[in-house]
């Protein structure tokens, strides 16, 4: 048992070193851009002037480093193009808090209330999503900092989800918002965390999601397209090295298992012979 624990510690230390090294001395490994990411970039890039985009930040603090690069890159892009963004959180209550960290990096030179708004956490889960979808102002009366939303110029003509030119779901459970809003507004892009990507990709291939960004990798690729390498690009080198280590460990583990089987078979053969 102690031996197994020591191996675990060694693997963790190796992972930590490989992940940390490029943070200090970047390797600049290429980050090929997936066509799905390019599609999301094009969707945001081609939005008509003064479009309003809804971004749902339904994630918790622990997922910040995985999903924040995509939030920062897309929000930067939306605002740079002169469009507007509305942020809301339905699932965790922490996404609305973390939005302030994202705004620090993505909203320079932009005015709160005019260019972007944080509507905060809306309690009630799926029923709140339905209510928000049909009448935003009846569902929320104040923004995250307590300002009545009637006093926010950006919210003047926003009443239902139909009023958004694009909806971007940064969420662990994209399917919940998707199933409630798709009939009102089919222009939905999904941005799940890395872990959720295999689960939600069928919604993209079926055409229900108009675009799909895969967690940290999607964020890093978007930064490349935006020509603004940030948190995502910095982390990708370490992620690539860590994955190489894991691949190596899988090979070593399998060779060891196969070796054990062969060794057992050979020793049985020897015992069988007189």
């Amino acid at each position: 048992m102690e031996k197994v624990r020591n191996v675990g510690v060694m693997i963790f230390v190796a992972l930590a070193v490989l992940t940390a090294y490029p943070l200090l001395w970047p390797l600049g490994l290429p980050i090929p851009v997936d066509p799905m990411t390019r599609q999301v970039y094009n969707i945001v890039d081609q939005l008509p002037a003064n479009s309003i985009v809804l971004q749902t930040y339904d994630f918790v603090t622990g997922q910040y480093s995985d999903i924040a690069p995509a939030c920062i890159a897309t929000l930067t892009h939306i605002l740079e193009k002169g469009n507007k963004a509305v942020i809301v959180d339905f699932q965790s209550g922490q996404g609305a808090l973390l939005a302030s960290k994202i705004f620090e990096k993505a909203t320079q030179g932009k005015t709160y209330g005019v260019d972007y708004v944080n509507l905060g956490y809306v309690p009630g889960g799926e029923s709140a999503m339905v209510a928000f979808g049909t009448d935003i102002k009846k569902t929320i009366s104040k923004d995250f900092s307590g300002t009545p939303i009637d006093n926010l110029p950006l919210m003047k003509n926003v009443n239902t989800v139909k009023d958004f030119a694009l909806i971007m779901l940064f969420s662990e459970n994209i399917n919940i918002e998707l199933r409630q809003w798709i009939s009102s507004n089919p222009k939905i892009v999904g941005v799940p965390n890395t872990m959720g990507a295999p689960t939600f990709i069928p919604y993209y291939t079926s055409g229900q999601l108009k675009g799909f960004l895969q967690g940290l990798r999607g964020g890093a690729e978007y930064e490349q397209l935006l020509k603004k390498p940030g948190l995502g690009a910095a982390t990708m080198d370490g992620l690539s090295l860590a994955h190489l280590l894991i691949l190596g460990l899988i090979v070593v583990g399998n060779v060891s298992i196969v070796g054990g089987i062969v060794k057992n078979a050979l020793s049985k053969n020897k015992e069988g012979k007189p």
Binding site: F12, L15, I176, R179, S183, M195, S206, G238
Partner: protein, 208 residues
């Protein structure tokens, strides 16, 4: 340069204490664990109070007395604490489950069943691009066999010659679970990278 911000130092020490679990479960780790649970519980209480404020108090101040209804049903949940009146708590739970299920099914049928079936049925199995054709054929076979794997009408469906369909279904489910596990590992490494980035860049002031 190393950070002089107290908040950054607290976050850095908490991160290190949490990571110390890899080496040994210590008092430092337990302190962080308990702090995290306490903070999460406190956050939930704040959110709950905020919800009551939004759903009940704010409407009542605007003379919307219908807001008393969710307040009463909310209070009935606490009836569970008494043996005599615990049956009253079934009403709010019945509403929560009923409304939740109704809302979910309404969208689920279309978004998660009809659209997915339609998308699979309309996959072009033969196209100019051989890779796309192969991809679509595999998706088609994997969907059908995975669904077949869950047919429980008769044990015969999973034995004999028909058993091969079930086995392909099982393998395709395992391929999905493998992809899910790989994504889970990648996600964890991304979280580790995030913490290391914080420690090296923000706390120690190296790189970045």
């Amino acid at each position: 340069m190393i950070s002089t911000d107290v908040g950054t130092w607290i976050a850095a020490l908490i991160t290190l204490f949490a990571i110390s679990y890899v080496f040994k479960e210590s008092h430092l780790y337990r302190f962080v664990e308990h702090t995290m649970i306490g903070t999460a519980a406190a956050n939930l209480v704040v959110l709950a109070v905020g919800s009551v404020q939004t759903i009940v108090v704010n409407p009542l101040t605007k003379a919307n007395y219908l807001a008393v209804i969710p307040l009463v049903f909310g209070l009935l949940i606490f009836a569970r604490a008494t043996k005599r009146y615990s049956w009253l708590s079934r009403w709010p739970f019945a509403i929560i489950v009923g409304v939740g299920t109704g809302l979910a099914i309404r969208g689920m049928i279309y978004a998660q069943v009809v659209s997915q079936v339609a998308a699979t049925a309309s996959l072009p199995l033969i196209s100019a691009d051989p890779v796309l054709s192969l991809q679509n054929i595999l998706a088609f076979v994997f969907v059908l066999t995975s669904v077949y794997y869950f047919l429980m009408m008769t044990p015969r469906a999973h034995t004999g010659r028909l058993g091969i369909i079930s086995r392909i279904g099982r393998w395709s489910i395992m391929v999905f679970l493998g992809a899910k596990f790989a994504a889970s590992v990648a996600f964890r490494i991304a979280l580790l990278a995030g913490r290391l980035q914080f420690l090296l860049w923000q706390w120690l002031g190296l790189g970045g």
